[in-house]
Amino acid sequence: MSSLEFEILATAMTVSAACAVPGAYLVLRQMSMVADAISHTVLLGIVLAFLVVPLYGHPLMVFGASMMGVVTVLGIDLLKRTGLVREDAAIGITFPALFSLGVLLISLLTRDAHLDEHMVFQGDLVYSVFQRLELAGRGYGPMTLWKMAGIFLLNGALALRFHRELKIATFDPVLAATLGISPSLVHFGLVLMTSVTAVGAFDSVGSILVIGFMVVPPVTARLLTDSLARYLGLSLLLGCASALGGFWIARTVNGSVGGSISLVMGAMFVVVLLASPRRGLVADWHRRRRQRVEFAVRMLVIHLFQHRALGQRTEENHAGHLEAHLGWSAEFSRRITELAEARGLIRRVDTHWLGLTSVGERQAEQALAG
């Protein structure tokens, strides 16, 4: 791997890590769509800030541009509070307008600057590493890498320092308020963190991959664990792993790095959705099937128990009549009967009639007692 390639990979992984921190909390707070809005409207912030401080990537410019994220969320909240527009629609109204204004301003005002329209949607990882950090005549690698590493460290430090505040304000805002934590301060702190990250990552990965990095790894991680600490760690790890996997694919097929990373994240999510040991769809399907069989065995035992007074040989306990009485298929009846027999819950009075064993009777009594 050439040093340029290494720099591209390192930048992609750093951006993913920086995005995972606010992203994990946005997902827990059901604010994924807010990430979508912010990652678009910061474009307008970038353009406006660039007009005031024409130094792309300067910390002042990044901070100024980030205020647009706060403005976006304030706008959404205000619209929601009128009671006339719901939150999802408020998001859908606010961000296309602000984003379009940004695009329009770019095309009108900054024809020859570092901003151009194609970068807006996907950014350009490869291009972004050509901007070098130089101090006193010496080169220190790509500027974006340093910028994103700084943002990641800042996000991480804030998340560690305020992890209790973030946790309580997310889980139970009312308790937070009674403990002296302001839920709205936490809310806007997180919004600002999201905005700074989105602004910082804009030139390297653009808005779509920022949303991907913020939302997909946390959602995937949530399917794998129920512990908050492990969820946060996994979000970071899965983001970095997708960056690595995507980079490798892009290198192999000589395609877009950002596109490949997005694709890897999507694929990773689908695999986990299907195969997650506890929450995955496959595990769920197995569980349901097992539950269906277990329940059927109990139902058979109770059915025989309820009709035991009618004598040993009636239609109710005739093996061949279970289909009609319990609504089972012939195949299913045979399976359940065999299973219950193997467990010693029922016995065959003769070839056709079924009866309960003493174990089965006890079990039925217990089940009916509740």
């Binding site: 505040e165 308790l175 129920d226 512990s227």
Partner: protein
Amino acid sequence: MQTMPPALEVNDLTVAYRDKPVLWDVDLQVPTGVLMAVVGPNGAGKTTLIKAVMGLMQPAAGSVQVFGEPAGRQQVRRIGYVPQRTSVDWDFPTSVRDVVAMGRYNRGGLWRRADRRDAERVARALATVDMEDLADRQISELSGGQQQRVFLARALVQDSDLYLMDEPFQGVDAVTEQSMVAVLRRLQEQGRTVLAVHHDLRTAPAYFDWVALLNVRLIASGPMATAFSECNLRETFGGSAPEWTTPPATTAA
């Protein structure tokens, strides 16, 4: 002898949603050391009363005093609040033990890390509400009654002097309800005050010793034996007779 200030004193409290009053000029005194039920029909402003005391809703008029001092940030910290269990996201990735531990977060400031005493306190509270076996359970796996008990345990570790509970028995089975009432009694024995929104008029006299009857305005409040009269109940609930068609037993606990 110095008279003790009431645990909670509400004066002329009016809370409105736009121009629709939810609470109309409520004056309520909750003496220290009582178990008081707040009773009233749906939309009577019971939850609003609690939220206004907690400073979670801005009153249009009136004042709230907690232990003789105006309810501000400092005083609110002396209150343990048990919200309706639907008020939080139970799918949050955390354990029962951790939720209860949240009640200790205000001890000695947010910088302080949880220590062994906190852990012991949390374990004891979980044992008090019969939840120690489920301490490491993910909270989404709990039943409604178990969720309610987690909230009660969390309030217990707060070591508050005044507890405000919004329907603590919601979704709880009869056996659990009895053990939760025993927990409330123990709080009372320790000199603490409990104000709880309660829906079941049949059990109110047995569980609580004081009552406030609320229907936007305060109809009556005082010891169960005097305030929980059929006349007051009729005024609170209007003509439509609720569960008290047989006159409620006025044997205060």
